[in-house]
């Protein structure tokens, strides 16, 4: 069928198509409203839900539109492989399918593969037409399958690539934690289940350490929950305290899991960016600030919580007391909770101080503070973390824990307990790992900044954490040849190009922001500097030779 014939047939037609996607063994019903040709103004009239192609937006809008009959619809975008880009004006249907199904299918295949047409369709299905509807995912994970790590970990896996991307150390952990683990595993009991909410020696050790830090007594059994990494704490917090109808404020750039976790809990993420103060020559993470009025405007009666991350990943910002007080004032005024991700709490550089928002007046009772053994002891592969907060909140996290994975591994908890107790004794002294690691990293931070500057890029010097944002604008790198994906942000293209051409891996910063802030951050990449000298040497070599091919 010639294209113009097909076009004439389809124009103004609205019908129900059934499309088979062979790759996922599903039949999907597609309702096409109407069709018109792509013209120069094809961008106009695009329904809102097709405008943003981000992994989050399109699907959530799609969800809103689906009828109640589609409760089992596999509406993952990737189930229909055909490339369709559409702009359609909705035309009221006169109900029913106007053409026989097989004809519809044939037409659908041709139409959906034809680049000349703009077609809007709403995908839904009924159990009649869908073979594997029962094997479809639950609604709570719609649109949550993609993930920046999944995309970039495999790209950077080639051992010849210098990996400054994913945030984990290639320096060894302190020997005493490894020894403690080996010792723990040799004790019979330590290889069997321990207390669900946290191994007693660990929660007692945490209570001791944090009791000092908070300046209050912390009940090891009621005010602490041990989880599978800081990640697990974030999850238990969201599932325990956040639900449909809630809004959660998230500060950009944010550790990428916050948004999908909020969405999985059925709530709405409300984003607010840190903004760069202008007029500085040397930029530090302190120059990225929140606008108080803007922040205030994000709070309303639906706001359940605000998530803060200090030191911040990826910028490295360490929130000052005043900044935290501003947030605290809003929390108290609007009676919201505060989830404070402080996994990098010990990695603070000279001249700065880590403040726990939970220690501000009125905040203990409404704050969950999250920490990580992996980041504290450079053992990210141990996946242990903890939440600290008031009993009336922690108990809900404990409920989630007992219905999700019940307990964390025993020997690892025992080893972390030993590590905590040892360093508790040494706190404030140079031998304390919390202090010595920060010192070691400060040197690496400064070295990284110098190397990056030599290559003509502009670093944002972090006050804490082990990441550094780097502005690549001044390189003026032409990336038009890099990918076929039109909508891909500059930093994604830059990192892919850099991995391929320069054998250096980083993470694009727009992975940590929502769509509206992408423009603000797309010239930045994130480098991780908790790497041994040989890795930094290799990175230095690449960056020194940047301008040479």
């Amino acid at each position: 069928m010639a294209e113009d014939e097909m076009f004439n047939l389809l124009r103004g037609l609205s019908f129900l198509l059934i499309v088979r996607d062979v790759s996922s063994y599903t039949l999907t019903a597609v309702q096409v409203w109407s069709v018109h040709a792509i013209g120069p103004s094809s961008g106009k009239g695009t329904p809102d839900y097709m405008k943003s192609q981000s992994k989050n937006q399109a699907i959530s809008n799609d969800r809103e539109r689906s009828s109640t009959a589609s409760s089992r619809c596999p509406s993952q975008r990737t189930t229909v492989r055909q490339q369709v880009s559409c702009a359609v004006t909705h035309r009221p249907t006169d109900g029913g399918c106007l053409t026989p199904i097989t004809t519809c299918m044939n037409i659908a295949r041709q139409v959906l593969n034809c680049p000349l047409f703009n077609i809007h369709y709403r995908r839904f299905c009924t159990s009649q037409y869908t073979m594997t509807s029962r094997h479809a995912n639950s609604k709570r994970i719609q649109g949550l399958d993609k993930n920046v790590w999944v995309a970039f970990t495999s790209l950077a896996a080639d051992p010849s690539i210098v990996n400054l991307g994913q945030g984990y150390p290639d320096i060894p952990p302190p020997s005493y934690v490894k020894e403690a683990l080996a010792k723990a595993a040799s004790v019979d009991q330590m290889n069997q289940y321990t207390r669900g909410f946290g191994h007693p020696s660990l929660v007692k050790g945490l209570s001791q350490v944090y009791g000092k830090v908070y300046g209050r007594q912390i009940d090891p059994f009621k005010e602490i929950l041990v989880t599978v990494g800081g990640y697990g704490s974030l999850f238990s917090t969201m599932q325990g305290l956040v639900e449909e109808g809630d809004e959660v404020i998230i500060i950009e750039p944010f550790f990428d899991c916050y948004v999908p976790m909020v969405r999985m809990a059925g709530a709405k993420p409300v984003l607010i960016p840190l903004r760069l103060k202008s007029g500085k020559t040397t930029i530090t993470s302190a120059d990225w600030v929140l606008d108080p009025d803007e922040l205030s405007s994000k709070f309303n009666s639906k706001t359940k919580a605000i998530i803060i991350n200090t030191p911040n990943n990826p910028i490295g910002k360490v929130f000052t007391r005043d900044e935290l007080q501003m947030i605290a004032d809003l929390c108290i005024k609007h009676d919201t909770l505060c989830f404070s991700d402080e996994v990098y709490e010990w990695l603070i550089y000279r001249g700065h101080q880590h403040i726990k928002i939970a220690t501000l007046p009125g905040m203990w009772d409404r704050t969950i503070t999250i920490s990580s053994a992996g980041k504290t002891f450079s053992v990210t592969g141990w996946k242990l973390g903890w939440s600290i907060g008031p009993e009336h909140l922690i108990k809900h996290l404990q409920t989630v824990m007992q219905n999700t994975l019940y307990t964390c591994p025993t020997p690892l908890q025992e080893a972390v307990a030993q590590g905590m107790l040892l360093n508790c004794e040494l706190m404030g002294q140079p031998e304390c790992y919390f202090t010595s690691l920060a010192e070691e990293l400060e040197g690496k931070r400064d070295r990284m900044a110098a190397i990056v500057q030599e290559a003509g890029m502009t670093p944002v010097i972090p006050e804490g954490g082990y990441f550094m944002l780097v502005d690549v604008t001044s390189l003026n790198q032409d990336l038009s040849h890099v990918t076929d994906d039109e909508g891909e942000a500059y930093d994604y293209k830059f990192v892919k190009w850099m991995i391929k051409e320069k054998k250096l891996a980083a993470i694009p910063v727009t992975a940590f922001v929502g769509d509206e802030s992408k423009k603000q951050f797309e010239k930045y990449i994130r480098l991780c500097f908790i790497k041994q000298d040989s890795t930094l040497d290799a990175a230095e070599k690449i960056l020194k030779n940047w301008t040479k091919i």
């Binding site: 094997h135 639950s138 994970i141 994913q166 490894k178 990640y231 007046p361 592969g381 996946k383 020997p411």
Partner: protein
């Protein structure tokens, strides 16, 4: 009744009752007091804090999904057991150590290079998923793709969680065979689903777990348009039933007819006695693409505290569980996965031979099963001989109050994967029988 009370103090009931308020059992933590430094004397911060507290209590904080799933039998009884210094045949974990080869593998991993202590592949450490795929492909009769068909989780518990979260929506029904491992129901509830129960029923003289059967008609009658999945557990906890091929085929037929998913909890798969054979429902025709099989390193290698488990199934289903996993814990601990990988490599080589741990462990446990059954009989309790697993239920009708008999209320569960504990229990039961 005094006997029952003291027995109840250290044994677990098969069927949950409405639990008492946890706090009445005896809180052990000291009350905390706020240091005075918390209050500042200026700017009305005192007032701010007091006002904040007042407002706090009026607004609902917890998510509704946590309603009704906060009580838990283990939390209650573990605390009791700790308080009364009992001989614990309650909670299901060994009191002996994991086998030397697996402990060595763990030590080797721990002293291995820095990568052993950093993040590994999120969906499963490559050496582990490869050895699992290699090991189980032959058993399931299907080529298992290590990267697509397997998800490693924090214990089988988390695998179950991922399955329910990934596949059950608000209003979906999930059929659960009673008696069931207690977490199934709250997990279904937390996913917004509705649990529909169908009980195993005793047929004839109930001497063995094989005498508890599922009625095909009764099961079929529970299926509605909203039924999404059925959960089976073989070998079953607590009864110890090992489902036969015909029984699984009956379930499979219904799954295929009604297009249901099947979640098969097989954590005790190696623990079968008297020649009973463990059959994987996923190996039956038409079942691979609709079954999630859950396994546990903790139960397999007597290392419950390692919390390494997995879900195996068609990549089309597993991929949704991966999405849940990457938004809940993302990674599992590396070193233990490395060790379990080595464990499976070893067992693959020794499969079927007398040196295989999967032969030795059930042989050892069979003896313990016999020993416990004899002890229980000697005090007038009627044990139901389990065909598999490491639990045994015993009928307490002869010592319980006849007024309270209904369904499963006459049974209590004993765990026999114990060494010295079993000896101690034997002592207690011998004394008890002498008193009678």
């Amino acid at each position: 009744m005094g006997l029952i009370r003291s027995l109840a103090a250290n044994l677990t009931r098969v069927r949950q009752r409405a639990a008492r308020n946890q706090q009445q059992v005896g809180a052990t933590a000291p009350a905390h007091s706020l240091p005075h430094g918390q209050f500042m004397s200026n700017n009305g911060n005192n007032a701010r804090r007091c006002l904040s507290l007042q407002m706090m209590t009026s607004r609902r904080r917890s998510a509704r999904r946590t309603d009704g799933v906060d009580k838990n039998v283990w939390v209650e009884f573990t605390q009791l057991a700790a308080e009364y210094k009992v001989v614990n045949l309650g909670q299901g974990f060994p009191d002996f150590s994991p086998p030397p080869f697996i402990q060595e593998a763990f030590c080797k991993a721990v002293s291995g290079g820095p990568t052993m202590h950093q993040y590994t592949r999120a969906f499963g450490h490559p050496p582990l998923v490869k050895s699992l795929a290699k090991f189980f492909s032959g058993i399931v009769g299907h080529e298992i793709d290590a990267l697509e068909d397997i998800l490693v989780t924090v214990g089988a518990y988390q695998a179950l969680f991922c399955a329910f979260q990934a596949l059950v929506d608000e209003g979906d029904e999930v059929i659960i065979v009673e008696p069931f491992f207690d977490c199934y129901q709250p997990m279904v509830a937390m996913a917004g689903g509705k649990a529909v129960y169908v009980p195993l029923r005793p047929s004839g003289a109930v001497l063995s777990s094989g005498d508890w059967v599922l009625s095909a008609e009764e099961l079929a009658s529970k299926i509605t348009a909203r039924t999404k999945a059925i959960v089976i557990n073989t070998p079953n906890n607590p009864i110890g039933k090992v489902y036969k091929t015909e029984e699984l085929q009956m379930i499979a037929d219904l799954c295929i007819k009604h297009d249901l998913l099947c979640i098969s909890d097989e954590v005790y798969e190696w623990l079968t006695y008297d020649g009973a054979k463990h059959v994987k429902i996923a190996s039956l025709p038409g079942m691979w693409e609709r079954t999630v099989t859950v396994g546990s390193a903790g139960k397999t290698f007597s290392a419950t505290g390692w919390k390494v488990g997995w879900a195996m199934g068609s990549g089309q289903v597993i991929k949704h569980m991966k999405t849940i996993h990457q938004n809940t814990v993302y990674h599992c601990a590396t070193a233990a996965q490395e060790a379990v990988g080595h464990g499976f490599e070893r067992e693959h080589k020794l499969f079927g031979s007398p040196e295989s741990y999967f032969q030795q462990l059930p042989a050892t446990l069979q003896q313990k099963r016999t020993k416990l059954a004899a002890c229980l009989e000697s005090v007038g309790l009627q044990p139901v001989m389990p065909e598999g697993g490491y639990f045994m239920i015993a009928d307490i009708s002869s010592v319980s109050d006849p007024e309270h008999r209904k369904e499963f209320d006459n049974y209590i569960r004993f765990c026999f994967v114990k060494d010295s504990t079993l000896d101690a229990a034997e002592e207690i039961l011998r004394k008890w029988s002498q008193e009678q």
